[in-house]
């Protein structure tokens, strides 16, 4: 059985509990970004850019035969924290049912102290990432029901 969105969130919260220093959390996020696999060039278009990010971050989504939505993401090389954040969101939401993604409550962001970890402008980018992923969830859950 697939791990649920909330189970993954809880795992992330547990991982972040191990860090005392905000800088260690940031380092962890940066390292997640470094592990992102390069995405297909077809996703590096204006349509896939996340608006509201200071740096360029792309997000692609694909509904597969198992009726689950899979995300890919990437960012320009120097946008390391942004890449780490999208990587973390992908780990939470990718491979879930579109309807679950659309109505997911992402409580881990506050629980891991990410709201204080990132600047308000950066958090604006983070909010845009979440919004874009949820929009895909909504879109594909409708596609399915039609």
């Amino acid at each position: 059985m697939t791990t649920t969105i909330n189970e993954i969130q809880d795992e992330i919260i547990e991982t972040f509990d191990l860090f005392d220093e905000p800088l260690d959390k940031t380092q962890y996020i940066i390292d997640l970004g470094k592990k992102l696999k390069p995405i297909d060039e077809k996703y590096k278009t204006e349509d896939h850019l996340i608006k509201g990010c200071q740096s360029r971050v792309w997000l692609g989504a694909e509904l597969r035969a198992d009726d689950r939505l899979y995300f890919v993401g990437d960012g320009e090389p120097e946008a390391q924290i942004a890449k780490g954040l999208i990587s973390m969101l992908i780990s939470v939401l990718s491979g879930q049912k579109p309807a679950d993604i659309a109505r997911a409550e992402l409580y881990f962001i506050e629980k891991i102290g990410m709201s204080s970890l990132v600047t308000s402008r950066r958090a604006g980018g983070l909010a845009s990432m979440v919004q874009k992923m949820k929009q895909y969830g909504l879109l594909y859950s409708k596609v399915k029901t039609v």
């Binding site: 800088l23 940066i30 120097e78 946008a79 924290i81 942004a82 990132v118 950066r122």
Partner: protein, 414 residues
């Protein structure tokens, strides 16, 4: 270490720091290192106390009231005007108009002097290092009036191309609007020379002193500036308050800006006559508390003295330039010969936002981004920089923390 001793002996840094309550704050468990002074300076206790004292003991609307408090508030308000007149050495207090800040002052000039005296075919000359506040009001005016906006280029070092300035300046140039010191690069521009040459060509000159006013001595009469604008919040004073200096004959020739109370002499439905300077440009209840507290900010600056402040800040700038230059991969953007205490830099392979986040986690406040100078960033082929800017209360120890913080960020993001 030698530098530290020098800066310590020039001014009583501990005594100065003790006047700024906010410097005792901690951020992310670390002592605050506040190096975002080009955005806004912190406020000494005398300014905070003046604001509090006004609301505790003097609050009343000014100029119109006949009662005790109104008289008291009016006297304090006008005393601030005289204090600021002295600060910039204006010829008379009515040449000092209170505004909401530098941006407000520039818009006032664009909407009054600009609309009245600049027309189709005329030219306005600005520079490539202007803040958006000294670009957009002129673009708006040019769209409306059919005038042309010309731009003095900036060299790789971050200095104005004065040769190009002289070429661009011509008999159609009605106004030169130029920044005294660049907020993004720190460059101090040769405004006296610019004013002299502009006047020879028959153009008026507006100087944007937002960044310069906390660092350089300002004498509008010696400069022969036609207009000079500044914000008090960059000068240890309150936010939302600034001044516009204008030569009396120009201010008198200009139509009013906003209509409302205080700016009128007499109102009938047939015709309204306008008040004299400076009230003609001060419609509505002004920012009384902040204007009154501004006097305390000037008192603070003058208690130390601009020369002592400048010497301390120049020592910090040199120390920071040396410390940051020693970091591999770091490039300082803006290497003008004359600079105020602003140091902008980029780090190879690192986004400035990431730099800002990681420094913030170490308690270090700097500014990242385009600093409201997007055309200047385009000139250097970058989207933004990290910018540290120093005030009178900063120390070489704080610059050591900054340099160490930058190294830490580089290690984390490398």
């Amino acid at each position: 270490m030698h530098m530290k001793t020098m800066t310590r002996s020039a001014i009583a840094i501990d005594q100065i720091r003790s006047q700024f309550p906010i410097l005792q704050e901690t951020v992310n468990g670390k002592p605050l290192v506040y190096l975002d002074n080009a955005a806004t300076t912190q406020k000494p206790a005398v300014v905070i106390d003046a604001l509090s004292a006004y609301y505790h003991h003097s609050n009343a609307n000014i100029h119109r009231g006949i009662h005790f408090l109104a008289e008291k508030a009016t006297a304090a308000f006008e005393e601030s005007r005289v204090r600021l007149q002295g600060f910039i050495n204006a010829a008379s207090p009515e040449e000092v108009i209170f505004t909401y800040g530098t941006t407000d002052g520039i818009n006032l000039i664009a909407q009054t002097y600009g609309r009245q005296f600049i027309g189709p075919g005329d030219e306005i000359l600005i520079s490539a290092m202007e803040h958006h506040s000294n670009i957009v009001p002129w673009q708006m005016l040019c769209l409306e009036k059919g005038c042309t906006l010309n731009v003095i280029p900036v060299s790789e070092e971050g200095e104005l191309d004065m040769e190009a300035f002289r070429t661009l300046l011509n008999e159609r140039t009605k106004l030169v609007a130029i920044v005294h010191a660049s907020n993004a690069l720190g460059t101090i521009n040769p405004v006296a020379e610019i004013i002299e040459q502009a006047h020879s060509a028959g153009a008026k000159v507006l100087v944007d002193g937002a960044q310069a006013s906390a660092h350089l001595a300002i004498d509008v009469q010696e400069l022969d500036a036609d207009f000079y604008v500044l914000s008090l919040h960059k000068l240890y004073g309150p936010t939302g308050m600034g001044i516009l200096y204008g030569k009396k004959e120009l201010l008198n020739a200009m139509p009013p800006y906003r209509g409302g109370g205080e700016m009128i002499k007499e109102v009938t439905f047939a015709k309204t006559t306008y008040n004299d300077l400076p009230y003609k440009f001060e419609a509505g209840t002004p920012n009384i508390a902040d204007v009154i507290a501004a006097k305390s900010a000037i008192d603070f600056v003058e208690s130390i003295g601009k020369p002592a402040i400048a010497a301390h800040e120049q020592a910090l700038l040199q120390y920071a330039t040396d410390a940051l230059s020693a970091i591999d991969g770091l490039t300082i953007i803006g290497r003008a010969r004359e600079k105020v205490s602003v140091i902008s830099f980029v780090m190879k392979g690192i986004h400035h936002e990431d730099m800002g986040v990681i420094l913030d986690q170490q308690g270090i406040a700097i500014r990242t981004g385009h600093h409201c100078t997007q055309p200047l960033m385009q000139r250097f082929g970058i989207t933004g920089t990290s910018r540290a800017s120093f005030a009178v209360y900063n120390t070489t120890e704080e610059i050591d923390i900054l340099a160490e913080g930058v190294r830490r960020a580089k290690k984390m993001l490398g």
